[in-house]
């Protein structure tokens, strides 16, 4: 009886560790369970397969031979496929392995060790199987009914935590991204612009802004419908995104058919070259709408620090906007640089 009480306390601490690790990433959640699990029972590999990301986290004994790891991976995917609607391909599953000393030295795993026993349970929540969880051993009959009871409780907590994590991530994503184009949204642009201007202003380092507006966009909506308009927005967003550096630059949807590119460390001259390249790229890329093609063009306005002297980040956007207005007034499908108030 005392043993069960002790085990229940360990179980509580595992549940607590999983539940409170929500602030970290999924790897952290798996690790927090894997670190405390050896107090409850002996195992060689503890694994969590998460369907959403097609990722398999393994928390394993450091002396675990690679052949054993592969056997566990194969078995987990096999068991998960039995529970799923279709066969899961091994090649599509990304593997993340964390090695720890789980066994004392005299119990190092045999390099020829094979999988002798396992428990695998679906991670089920709200009637959906979101993955599976597994403990594996090189010893025969390593697990019994009580282990299964404890392990199922861990599985339920893991499923709930992963689901919670999934929701949290989705909320965070919605707060940053524009759902139609997949670009950053205006709220995030404001934040990012603050960060970039705070970096650039004191040091006087370069920072350029390109404001983009799709020409005659209303006509596209009126003529071809809103679905066509959405497609044009998505296609142009994709062109903009592929025209800048992935790491440093940022493309955001400013609103409606307007976009903003933030280019840290980029001079006015370089920004003009980028803007002209984007303008030509849009002009030369017809967009398929059903059986017809739309030839869109864009107008672009540029502002650039420190050539354009400013005190506040809002001024930089305003200058790019005024330059954009000049481009529109000058006949559209062109790039204009801010030339003064």
């Amino acid at each position: 009886m005392r043993l069960i009480f002790k085990d229940l306390n360990i179980l509580r601490s595992i549940i607590n560790a999983i539940g409170t690790s929500i602030g970290s990433d999924v790897k952290g959640i798996v690790e927090s369970a894997g670190t405390t699990l050896p107090n409850l029972f002996d195992f060689s590999v503890f694994g969590v397969l998460w369907k959403e990301e097609l990722i398999l986290y393994l928390f394993q004994e450091e002396s675990c031979p690679p052949s054993f790891t592969q056997e566990v991976v194969k078995n987990m995917i096999r068991v998960f496929s039995i529970m799923g609607e279709k066969q899961m391909e091994r090649e599509r599953v990304a593997l993340q392995v964390e090695k720890r000393k789980l066994k004392p030295n005299q119990m190092m795993m045999d390099p020829q060790a094979t999988l002798k026993s396992y428990l695998t349970l679906p991670l089920a929540i709200e009637g959906e199987i979101i993955g599976c969880i597994s403990v594996n051993s090189d010893q025969p009959n390593a697990f019994d009914a009580q282990h299964l009871q404890f392990f199922s409780v861990i599985g339920y907590q893991m499923a709930a935590t992963l689901k919670h994590f999934q929701r949290l991530r989705s909320v965070k994503k919605e707060a940053i991204y524009d759902s139609l184009t997949g670009l950053m949204n205006r709220r995030y642009l404001e934040e990012r612009l603050s960060v970039e201007t705070e970096k650039a202003f004191p040091s006087g380092s370069k920072l350029s802004i390109i404001m983009v507006d799709i020409d005659h966009f209303k006509k596209v909506n009126d003529t071809f419908g809103h679905a066509a308009g959405d497609k044009v927005l998505r296609e142009i967003a994709s062109l903009l995104k592929s025209s800048v550096r992935t790491q440093d630059d940022m493309v955001a949807r400013y609103g409606g058919e307007e976009f903003v590119l933030v280019l840290p460390g980029v001079s006015l001259e370089a920004a003009s070259t980028i803007a002209e390249r984007i303008r030509r790229s849009v002009e030369n890329t017809p967009i398929d709408i059903g059986e017809t093609q739309i030839h869109s063009t864009i107008s672009l306005g540029i502002s650039s620090f420190p050539i354009h002297r400013i005190k506040y980040k809002e001024e930089l956007v305003k200058m790019a906007d005024l330059a954009l207005y000049d481009a529109k007034r000058g006949g559209r499908n062109r790039v204009c640089v801010f030339t003064g108030l």
């Binding site: 096999r78 068991v79 039995i82 529970m83 026993s117 396992y118 428990l119 695998t120 349970l121 679906p122 089920a124 929540i125 009637g127 199987i129 697990f143 019994d144 009914a145 282990h147 299964l148 009871q149 199922s152 409780v153 599985g155 339920y156």
Partner: protein, 128 residues
């Protein structure tokens, strides 16, 4: 007419026997892996053989347990042997799932309950 009545009576008995057995399996296995997972496994098992034994699709599975109420109404005129074969397949399918997940751990707990009941059902069917 007498034969019809006997067959109905026999079907009712077989259904009752399997209702008790499934309730026992539910109680034992849900204590090991929880109702939510078990419910999903039952659903999977039914999906696996529901094409061959359509009457099994009227089994009602939820986290509260498994109910044969609808099935009892639908299957009163079915041949007892057919009901027996369907349930035997369902139990085999479940056992296969349990074994894939936990090797012998779950089956070790339920087989002592399952085997006598299935033998009893066999006897009932063969007596007829």
């Amino acid at each position: 007419m007498k034969e019809d009545k006997e067959e109905k009576w026999s079907s009712d008995l077989i259904l009752e026997l399997y209702a008790n057995l499934l309730t026992e399996i539910w109680a034992t296995v849900s204590a090991l892996i929880g109702e939510a997972i078990l419910g999903l496994l039952f659903t999977l098992a039914i999906q696996g053989i529901g094409g061959k034994y359509a009457f099994l699709n009227s089994l009602e599975v939820s986290e509260e347990g498994i109910s044969l109420d609808k099935m009892k109404k639908d299957c009163r005129n079915m041949a007892p042997a057919e009901i027996h074969r369907g349930f035997q397949s369902l139990i085999n399918q479940l056992s296969h799932l349990f074994s894939a997940l936990t090797e012998g751990v779950i089956n070790k707990e339920i087989l002592p309950k399952v085997l006598p009941k299935v033998r009893e059902a066999e006897r009932m069917v063969s007596q007829k």
